[in-house]
């Protein structure tokens, strides 16, 4: 009986933290009267163990949403393309802008924004949307917001495929700065997840929150430099406030690495040289702010989520 865990007096309403093995392996668990199942580290391990679930849930969602063939891909592109066209026409007509590269500016920030929007809004509905899973099967619920973010990433990836076509037509050539793309995508992934975790908890609790957040996020989009560039602002204070917006770092950075050139005009794009608002280069410095904020939100959000997920089965 030496390996038997030592008997301790039961302490009600407070999780014991020492002596007893909490998780010997993934299938052997000691669940206590805690707000969480096991330690954070074990939880991460278990998530890794069940990571296949993300691919399956996302794949299933995508497959049933659009049959995966050529027509399905076209559907994915239809929305950002039509929106970009609408904004382009609107802005080109209203402001009499002559530069056609503008459609690329709009398209790239729209794709990035769609990803963010989808991660947040879908995460709010994800627990209720997977109600039959959550009430009947145990798995780390933290995989659900990841799934929604990954579905958004898939859309984003497909959306990015049409950007080269536009670049070709507009005569914007690629540059080595494109190697920054994975970095920016990673930063946005962290930021999206950081926003998705608390929203998943609150979206389940407050039923009308998705509607409210839908409006707030749309407003946020117009306040972010998505349809216009940060270089349009000459006032330092306004610029600084704009840079505090975590979406600014993302939109500006995507734009820069796709080399919507102006400061460094290339031979491939002589027209761009006459457009002062575009610039090219490494990601915008405020991307670091987005990263810091994203990491902070993700840590706090994931911790909050794992504490609240124990009640999901009852709250649905």
């Amino acid at each position: 009986m030496s390996s038997e865990p030592k008997k301790k007096p039961v302490t009600r309403l407070r999780a014991r933290t020492t002596d007893t093995p909490r998780a010997l392996d993934f299938d052997t668990l000691l669940v206590e009267n805690a707000r969480k199942i096991v330690g954070f580290r074990e939880y991460i391990k278990e998530m890794w163990h069940r990571r296949g679930l993300v691919r399956v849930l996302a794949g299933r969602q995508l497959k049933s949403q659009y049959e995966l063939n050529v027509v399905g891909f076209a559907w994915w592109l239809a929305e950002p393309l039509s929106l970009a066209a609408v904004y382009y026409v609107l802005v080109a007509v209203l402001t009499k802008r002559q530069d056609h590269v503008y459609i690329l500016v709009v398209l790239i920030s729209l794709l990035s924004f769609k990803w963010f929007q989808q991660s947040v809004i879908q995460s709010m509905n994800t627990v209720r949307g997977n109600a039959s899973l959550v009430t009947d099967i145990y798995f780390p619920r933290a995989l659900l917001p990841i799934t929604e973010t990954m579905i958004g990433l898939a859309h984003f990836g497909v959306g990015l495929c049409i950007v080269p076509i536009f670049m070709l037509f507009l005569g914007v050539g690629p540059t080595p700065n494109l190697i920054w793309l994975p970095v920016i995508v990673a930063v946005q992934l962290i930021f999206n997840l950081g926003a998705a975790y608390p929203m998943a908890v609150w979206g389940l609790r407050y039923r009308n929150l998705p509607n409210l957040m839908g409006n707030i996020i749309r407003l946020w989009f117009y306040l972010s430099p998505a349809l216009y560039e940060l270089t349009r602002f000459s006032n330092g204070t306004v610029k600084f406030i704009m840079e505090l917006n975590p979406l600014t770092g993302l939109f500006e950075s995507y734009r820069r690495i796709f080399r919507l050139a102006g400061f460094t005009p290339s031979k491939l794009c002589p027209k761009c040289a006459s457009v002062p608002h575009y610039y090219a280069g490494a990601p915008h410095p405020s991307l670091i702010w987005t990263l810091i904020l994203g990491c902070f939100m993700l840590l706090i959000g994931a911790w909050y989520f794992t504490r609240k997920e124990t009640q999901f089965g009852k709250e649905i």
Binding site: N33, A34, V56, G59, S64, Y138, Y206
Partner: protein, 266 residues
């Protein structure tokens, strides 16, 4: 080491729910409540003070009236509800059969759903590939396996769900009244498959309203009453006490029952 430990050990386990009335929580009602500092909800303990050890390899039955907390307890043992009080120890790979075909996607084919459901229940891709034919044969849906699940009858859906779930080969299986699906032939196959699981030493915890099934299959039975344990013990004893308390005719010990422990117990 595993043989010495019970598969499941619950100590003073309690699960509570919150009663909110008919109110649907919304953003504004949440704010109003916050400003008025009004308590949002009343507590309701669905099960409380559950202390039980279930050894490995035992078939454990839970009986009780509707609303006595059977399903809540079952979900707690399957890790879906977390203990609000007390503690719970689970040793072994656990699989729950609470609703058959949980997480089926209506618009995908039965074949696709086997794959998705298998992963959701914790199988790996390779295991599914290996067991796919067995699962298809067990469900016995013929050509309909390639049709979308939304076209299935409820019986067909349940058969497919059960077929996937039992092929997970769990060490602990938690079953909520799902054996009542399908026709006689399928029920026979289910019973055989369950027996195969017992033989392999799996622990089974089941909720049943059919007392004959309980007496036939279980080695120990818990009677839950209003969320508390009324009795734990020999199946026939407990079942008859339960039936007597509800003024129902008690069961006779059947000489033909395959479980000799039951006869001596009765």
């Amino acid at each position: 080491m595993s043989a010495r430990y019970p598969a499941i050990r619950a100590k003073d386990l309690g699960i509570k729910f919150y009663l909110r009335g008919a109110e649907n929580p919304t953003v504004h009602s949440g704010m109003v409540r916050f400003l008025k500092r009004k308590p949002a909800r009343r507590e309701f303990w669905a099960v409380r003070n559950i202390t039980v050890d279930i050894p490995q390899g035992q078939v454990f039955g839970i009986i009780g009236a509707n609303g006595s907390g059977k399903s809540t307890l079952l979900r707690a043992l399957a890790r879906i509800y977390f203990p609000d009080e007390g503690e719970l120890e689970i040793r072994g790979k656990i699989s729950s059969l609470i609703t058959l075909g949980a997480g089926f996607r209506q618009e995908l084919s039965g074949m696709d759903n086997i794959y998705y459901n298998g992963i959701i229940l914790g199988l790996t891709k390779q295991e599914i590939e290996r067991k796919r034919q067995q699962i298809i044969d067990f469900a016995d849906l013929g050509q309909f396996i390639h049709e979308p699940v939304r076209t299935y009858s409820s019986g067909m859906r349940a058969r497919l769900g059960f077929s996937v779930a039992v092929h997970v080969d769990p060490e602990i299986l938690v079953v909520d009244e799902v054996l009542v699906v399908g026709d006689a032939a399928f029920r026979q196959r289910c019973a055989e498959k369950m027996r195969e699981l017992f033989m392999r030493g799996a622990t089974v915890i089941m909720v049943q309203h059919n007392m004959d099934v309980i007496v036939e299959m279980c080695q120990r039975v818990m009677w839950l009453d209003k969320g508390h344990v009324q009795t734990i013990g020999e199946p026939l004893d407990v079942v008859n006490k339960y039936l007597a308390s509800r003024n129902l005719p008690v069961l006779e010990a059947k000489p033909a029952t395959p479980n000799p422990g039951v006869i001596s117990g009765g």
